[in-house]
Each structure stands twice: as C-alpha cells, then as structure tokens.
Symmetry: C2
Subunit: 244 residues, 2 copies
C-alpha cells in the first residue's frame, strides 16, 4: 500500500507571517553612483528585541496574501510600493521560536520615497552596509537582491525605481546601482532605444550640463511578465494607480 507509511502530521501551532523586502534608490552627490536602499524596522519586543528586521506582520485569516504584504508594509513603514511580487516562502524549523512560515514579498519603491515624519523605529539602510538583522532576514535580503539582479536583465523592472520622467543617464544609473558595475553609456542607450519600451518626451533636464531629454515608460507595458498568476488585488492596484 502506498498509503501505509502515512502518519498523521502535527499541524497545529504553525503561524503564518508576511514580510516584504522593499528596495528603493538613493542618489548621493552628483557623480556618485546611486545606491539601493531598503527600510528596516527596529523590533520592540522579543525575540530579537532591538534588532532591525524586515517590515511585516501576521497574516489575517480573512486577508489575501498580497493585501497582507501591503497592509503590514503600510502599518510598519507608511510606504506603498510601485511593484510587488511574491519572492519565496521561508519556513525553516529553526528560524524562529515556535514555527513561523514567512511568506516574503519583494517590492520596489520609486526613488525619493520618504518615510512619514512621525515614523518610529524605521530607517533606510544601504543594502551594501546592513546591520545584523533579526531571524533569517539577512539571508532573505540576500536572496531578494539576487532576484532583483537577475530580473533586471530580462524585464523592465528597473523602471519601478524611477520617477515618471527620467533621463537615459538616470535609467543607466539604476542599472548600475543594481548590478554594482559601470555600463557603457553608448551601448546602454542603443539597447534601450532598441527595446522600444520608452517614450521620449519633449521635455529636458537642464542644469549645469547640456540639456538631457526626459523619457517616460509605456504605462501599457507590465513591468514583468507574471505568466498566468492572478493580478494583484485592490490595495496594490490602487498603489499602481497612484504612481501614474
């Protein structure tokens, strides 16, 4: 009998949490490469009280998963993402006291996003210079960065970090920040122009350099092909609306 080895699993006492790794872009002084940053929340209770952790919380029994990701992100940081996608489930037995299965999302935020003025125990960190994190969150951030670096190669995901209008140099700097290496400006321009996903505008960035044309991205093109996955539910749809 195939079934004869079955013993009844002990299914009680498993709790489901939702966390989000949300990346944004921080530009430094002119000429410096921008950096990828993410917000962390300082834990105010045990386990790991005082450590920095990913924004998150418990899944509500009546709540869709991506709604829980948006809600816990808003509650802990006040931020709303421009892109949100399920990353992976982290559920190792030893990752937390008790058994906690964490459904992790990763998200993008347009550059310049600010934390609310009254935000407590929340701060931005450069991904290259993180403090020790609670639980297995360092590993989770490492995996999310790997996914971001992979995905930037075959999707228009980088646009999730940009404002409505941007120059080609600003777009290139996003790629450079994600890939942590310099790209040849002429090659980059040619590739982007060939991809036909950007729409040139008649506006220009002026300043100390010669004027640079501003581009916007095509709102009809999805940032990434999600295949037959369901479309994000209301709260995230709203935040997509808000970005246009």
């Amino acid at each position: 009998m195939v079934m004869s080895t079955r013993t009844e699993p002990e299914t009680d006492g498993i709790r489901v949490a939702v966390s989000t790794v949300i990346f944004s872009l921080r530009r430094g002084a002119r000429g410096d490469r921008p950096t990828i940053v993410l917000p962390l929340v300082r834990r105010t209770r045990d386990p790991h009280e005082g450590r920095w952790a990913l924004p998150g919380g418990w899944l509500d029994r009546t709540e869709e998963l991506d709604v829980a990701a948006s809600r816990t992100l808003a509650e802990t940081t006040g931020l709303a993402p421009s892109y949100l996608e399920q990353l992976y489930v982290f559920g190792d037995v030893g990752r937390s006291p008790g058994r906690v299965v964490s459904i992790v999302y990763w998200a993008l935020l347009r550059e310049g996003a600010k934390l609310p003025a009254d935000a407590e125990n929340v701060a931005w960190f450069d991904v290259a210079d993180l403090p020790p994190l609670a639980f297995d969150h360092e590993h989770i951030v490492e995996y999310a960065l790997w996914r971001l670096r992979n995905k930037v190669g075959y999707s228009r995901i980088a646009h999730g970090l940009l404002p409505d209008l941007f120059t080609l140099a600003e777009l290139r700097e996003v790629y450079e920040a994600i890939l942590t290496r310099d790209l040849d400006p002429a090659n980059f321009r040619r590739q982007v122009e060939n991809s036909a996903t950007l729409i040139p505008t008649e506006r220009f960035r002026t300043g100390s350099h010669r004027p640079a044309r501003l581009y916007r991205y095509d709102q009809d093109v999805e940032l990434a092909d999600r295949g037959p996955l369901p479309h994000p539910t209301a709260p995230f749809a709203l935040s997509r609306e808000a970005r246009s």
Copy 2:
C-alpha cells in the same frame, strides 16, 4: 503615528499545506513527439471528493518545507523527484473551505518512472488533457507549466526528465515536448555542443536507425542556479544521489 492604523489580525485557523506539481515524460510510438505528464491523486474525502488533485498533504510542525513536499509526494504516489524547487504559495481566501495556505513545489521525474504496483487512486495524465481538478489546482498546474517552459530556456532543467544516457535526438524531443513545437535538429545539436554541459560517451543507441551516440550530463553542474537559497535537505539529497 504610523502604527495607529494597526488592528490585531486574526491569525488562528490558518492551515498550511504542501503540494507538488511533478512533471515527467512519456514517449509514445516511435516518431511521435513525447508528452509531458504528471501524476494526480483522486480525492477520497470532501471537499471535492472524487476529483483529481495534486499530490500533497499537511505540513508537520517539526518538518522542513521541502521535506514535507518529498514526504507527501512519496506517501500519495510513491514517487521520488530528480529535481525539486519551490514554485509559489497559493493562499487565496476562497480557494478552500477554511483558510488553507498551500506551499507548492514543482518537481521533475526522469522518464519511465513508474507508480508502485499497489498505488491506489493515483494516475498519470497528459498535461494537455487534464480532467477537472480540485480547488485551484488547474491554475497551479498552468503556472508550473509556464515556469517549466521559461526555465528550460535558461537552465539545464530538461535533463531532470532524462535517464543517465540519452541521444541528442532524445534530448531535443524533451525540449520539443516542453515547448510544444518542433526544433531544427542541426541548430539544436550546434547549440547543445556549444553549451559544453554534455559529456559524450563511447556508447551508442542501436536499433532500426543508424547508431546514435549516447551522452550523459555533467553531474557537477547544477540543473539550475538557485542563487543563495539553501541546499535541499536530506530526503531530496538522497533522491539526487539515487539518480546518479
């Protein structure tokens, strides 16, 4: 206050299940393109009693996630995969009576794998000709197939469906079965030879056609780059061992 909107979520009553979409290859009469098949389990209790469903079961509180996937697969079908990877979490509120969050794995099985002789309520189905499935499992299979078709383009994942030794024609047929289209034999041979992941042997497939060289794949090369994800735990490692 950022925290002021927080209400205590109702976290009880959420159950965690693990299911696996496991693909294999079925060769028909000579000259026919092989097909992608998967095993389904007929449900013997409500909800959806009598419907076909993905192999799976409840996560045990003390069990790692991939171990649970291997265990429930073995218990319901007697099968052990040659490749196992987390696919996605399906947790829509309305997908099942009560609240069930299903952590879904996808897996590959080398061609010719057989169900145990005493397997009850388990059968192979052609992915192109599935019966109506329980819960949201049709949608899950559709997403797993999409992932398989994508991944075959940038990994050596097709090898997970092959025996130790195979001809280039047999390898091409695996790609054709996954992509559901014919590939040019000469182009295919050139691409595979350039990829340097196959090792030619001194053995040949003989039969009614002229002898065809047998190849094996390089055991030192991972089937797919998993990035910084943890390595699969014991039971799956054993089944990887078993395949070499």
